[in-house]
Symmetry: C2
Subunit: 102 residues, 2 copies
DNA sequence: ACCTCGGTTTGATAATCATCGAACCGAGTC
DNA sequence: GACTCGGTTCGATGATTATCAAACCGAGGT
């Protein structure tokens, strides 16, 4: 069973940039991207508490960067790469392509 | 007479993203880009005080996104587009290409 | 009915950050 | 020297924001 939330618009460029400018959230985005599809929340972060993670998921969702869907009773997060690319071509993809380490 | 500050490294991806995620700073970056070269501080912002602007310039500089140089006694800011592109290809350019309004 | 499991919401706290005015500084100019 | 002009630095203040623990909630399982 797949139950998807109402799909919202991609946010402003500022919102998107602010969303990914947080290290915890960028890591989440990277992992969702690596996953290639809806991923259960648990494996998208570590180092922060459940509630903090949920807070970050919300910000990503409100910026239109991610989706939430319930698959088999479990909440999953999904990167809306295509939607963001359609709105701001190259922005998210180039960020994902950047070498992460420094 | 051109007097340029010591050139620093481009900062981490996080630093760059955080730098441009502020509306005032993104506008500064856009104007510098439009200028195509070193631009006097004054015409890179409006709506904030001199000291606030100076603060934002500093953050952009520390992120390695901009340069400071003194031309004929006047301080100028310059977008280090090539340097940032070399480090994180496509990131800054796609942000600049994004349609600003919403 | 009870319990666990995954996730969200609610306060609350602490830290970060944008903002300003005022003082300061260096280079010109008068 | 005195004065402006463009810019920076210094505190200080207020607003955001990241963080957590605790309470809560819905879906399954037993």
């Amino acid at each position: 069973m797949t139950d998807t939330d109402e799909v919202t618009q991609v946010g402003t460029l500022q919102e998107v940039l602010a969303a990914v400018s947080d290290p915890v959230r960028l890591e989440m985005v990277r992992r969702m991207y690596a996953e290639g599809g809806p991923a259960p929340c648990a494996q998208l972060y570590d180092g922060v508490s459940k509630s903090t993670a949920s807070h970050h998921f919300k910000i990503l969702r409100e910026a239109g960067v991610t989706d939430r869907s319930v698959i088999g009773g479990q909440t999953h997060q999904r990167l809306r790469l295509d939607d963001v690319e359609a709105e701001y071509p190259g922005v998210l993809s180039s960020i994902l392509a950047a070498r992460p380490a420094r």
